[in-house]
Symmetry: C2
Subunit: 230 residues, 2 copies
């Protein structure tokens, strides 16, 4: 054949690749590459970091800084936020209660796909209802959904009002706005809680990274893999 | 702070990373990591390879073998097929004409997200209508949607009938089955056409790889990046 690869200039870790192929042959005769194969090859685990909080609490800012830090450390990392999905995957959805629930459901499924593709997937959505967040937690394996409550008092969010949305909500131009005329249900047992009235963006990101480190999310995936093969 | 990274054991290509960061500062003051940043870091381009064809034509088999080959060459690659999305993202959809169109639309958007995350994204769906496929082509930049017609005569697909679906369709147990009582619209200008009655799985994959190679899809992304920065 005439085709020529320009293979990516990554470390060609024969040992790891052969391990991966070997276990695939053992357990998956159909040859499908699994999430575990991807994690082993990428040399890091994949999971979902779900930022929830009021509009203006700092979710998107923290998500972007967290993405930047992880990307520059060579992690596969992807962000999902409202701007990305509202114009694409969920462009058919409005803002009724039903549509907002479907919005979060689909985002959860998209995040799961990105996670299965090997990404640390950072989601930044108000996602005000415990039920919606819990549903996403339930579709992924234990420990893969890291609920991160971006905690900031309504008064402070309204003072910041970066998009002018609180002003519109107060004047009645926007209905069912979380915090004004629609509830934000406080996360019951979030894995991480970040108070952005007290912490800077950098310190907020540090707090998330500290949790990930302490809970071994930065551990090499092949360490536990080798154990599971014994 | 107390957190400790176990960074992925990839080549830490300072030059490329600094290039990436530099251009990000130039063009994207908000710090968002772009698809181009990911491609440069992964050392390969991302795009969608969309396999379309009758049930039993060999789409999934070819998709999996193509995924395996690319994965073992160290590419970031992800597969989307019916089993993956019907139980997740599109679990709310049935098989009405409207739902099947929405099924393909969402898959296209999910594929776009995976592509933007840096993956060569392989989609294997009957996707019988030109209009549905063309809509996906239009939501991504030129050249990023590689329509691959998995061509196999209906008689041969029905003879193979790996899932017993043609039998059910012929007996009336399944309605609106593509090829039986619902049309398959032949792709008008597919980038690649693979005849699986003539070619083995390996030769079919080779044909796709040959196209990708000849059209420079395996070229290092930073080559064109450097040009565009001049």
């Amino acid at each position: 054949m005439t085709f020529r690869f320009d293979p990516p200039k990554l470390v060609d870790n024969d040992y790891k690749l052969s391990q991966s192929v070997k276990s695939r042959n053992l357990f998956k005769p159909d040859g499908l590459i699994t999430r575990q194969d991807r994690e082993t090859r990428n040399c890091h685990k994949s999971y979902i970091i779900w930022l929830t909080g009021l509009s203006g609490s700092g979710k998107s800012t923290i998500a972007r800084e967290l993405e930047r830090v992880l990307f520059e450390k060579n992690y596969q990392v992807m962000i999902l936020d409202g701007d990305i999905v509202r114009f694409g995957l969920n462009s058919d959805l409005g803002f009724s209660l039903e549509d907002r629930q479907e919005n979060i459901r689909r985002i959860g499924e998209a995040a799961k796909l990105l996670m299965e593709a090997g990404n640390i997937t950072i989601c930044a959505f108000i996602s005000p209802y415990n039920n919606d967040r819990d549903k996403i937690r339930k579709i992924v394996p234990d420990g893969d959904f890291i609920e991160t409550f971006i905690d900031c008092p309504l008064e402070e969010c309204e003072r910041r009002d970066p998009k002018g949305l609180y002003k519109k909500a107060r004047s009645g131009l926007i209905k069912n706005f979380t915090g004004i005329d629609d509830p934000f249900e406080l996360p019951e047992k979030p894995e991480i809680k970040v108070n952005t009235q007290e912490l800077s963006v950098e310190k907020s990101v540090d707090k998330i990274l500290t949790y990930l480190s302490e809970q071994n999310y930065f551990q090499q995936p092949n360490e536990s893999r080798e154990l599971s093969l014994k």
